[in-house]
């Protein structure tokens, strides 16, 4: 379950005082998000382990300095993103997510399709089509499919994109995915992918 802001703030305050249960609840709530962010940046497993660990260690050393404890999820997402970018820069790899600005801003009314996509995730055809999307689309859709789903603020912090562009971009990515899935002879109903 996603933490409500008040609960997140209370857990941060308790963890800052050394409450292990509160810390573990924070880990439970956000470790999936951080791990998914490392996947979004296509880090190898070893680097992904290191970034995830470093992100949590950074929270420990800053936990009594967070200006807004209720937004700890966004803080973790931002920290993880920065560490991913630092690792990529250090290893001189190509930053695959650099092209967010290239997206056309389409005023597409993005429907609520994550549940359908989650169901369809089991379908090999959908997964293969997903892998053919541009990396920025894959990153966004993977984050939005997390359980618990991150807030738009956390997605924004994780990928370094404006909150306002998440919905339109999601719709655009899903439309592309739908087209690719349909090209494989799979209908909306069986795939669960339907952006419009």
């Amino acid at each position: 379950m996603r933490l409500e802001p008040e609960e997140a703030a209370a857990l941060v305050r308790a963890a800052a005082e050394g409450n292990r249960k509160a810390w573990e609840r924070l880990v439970e709530a956000y470790v999936g998000l951080i791990w998914a962010i490392t996947g979004s940046y296509r880090l190898p497993s070893g680097d992904a382990h290191d970034v995830t660990q470093t992100t949590w260690l950074r929270l420990v050393e800053n936990i009594d300095r967070l200006s807004e404890p209720s937004r700890v999820g966004a803080w973790l997402a931002t920290t993880a993103r920065r560490e991913c970018l630092r690792v990529l820069r250090q290893s001189s790899r190509t930053v695959l997510l650099r092209d967010w600005e290239d997206f056309d801003v389409v005023n597409l009314t993005a429907p609520e399709v994550e549940q359908g996509l989650l169901r369809a995730e089991q379908d090999e055809a959908v997964r293969e089509s997903l892998a053919l999307l541009r990396p920025s689309c894959q990153a966004l859709l993977h984050l939005l499919m997390l359980d618990p789903p991150p807030s738009y603020e956390e997605v924004s912090a994780a990928l370094g994109i404006p909150i306002g562009s998440i919905g339109p971009t999601r719709g655009r990515c899903l439309r592309k995915l739908q087209t690719m899935v349909e090209a494989r002879g799979i209908t909306d109903r069986s795939s669960g992918v339907s952006p419009a």
């Binding site: 880990v27 999936g32 791990w35 996947g39 992904a48 382990h49 970034v51 660990q53 050393e61």
Partner: protein
């Protein structure tokens, strides 16, 4: 050399705790599910800090500031009183690390890294070499009789 410096030097017994092999976690490819050891390390993070130490925050990392990233990586931390500069020279899964303290001081230096703890002692010029340091999450603890400074965690 001051009496205090001599005392620190007497306490410092540089140990080259040779790490036979640097641990690297996980399979080569990224899995969708969060690996158990990732969760365990996240849970364990709460205990991995020195509550008595002053935090030296990162003020510079050549990975972020240099246009061309060649040569040793330079990191600089400060707690407002002591500046800790690190020069990290990679060698495969390990690094050679040089520590420079400013103002120069004879202090005990401990590197917490994936291979364990590597200890040394800075000389009167504030310099100390630590090797081999394993790649991964690391931080440095610099102490003397009067102060205790821990750098922010860094990913080497």
């Amino acid at each position: 050399m001051t009496l205090r410096a001599r005392a620190v030097l007497r306490r410092c017994r540089p140990r080259s705790s040779r790490v036979p092999r640097c641990p690297r976690a996980g399979p080569p490819t990224h899995s969708r599910a969060v690996p158990d050891d990732v969760v365990q390390r996240a849970r364990a993070a709460l205990a991995r800090t020195d509550p008595e130490a002053t935090l030296a925050v990162e003020v510079d990392d050549s990975v972020l500031t240099d246009v061309v990233t060649t040569g040793p990586r330079r990191l600089r931390f400060s707690d407002g009183r002591l500046v800790v500069q690190l020069l990290a020279d990679p060698r495969g899964d390990e690094l050679d690390l040089e520590v420079r303290l400013s103002p120069p001081a004879v202090m005990t230096v401990e590197m917490w890294h994936p291979g364990g703890v590597l200890s040394g002692c800075s000389d009167a010029d504030g310099r100390c070499a630590l090797t081999p340091v394993c790649r991964g999450a690391a931080c440095l603890l610099v102490t003397d009789a009067r102060s205790r400074t821990q750098t922010a965690w860094m990913l080497l």
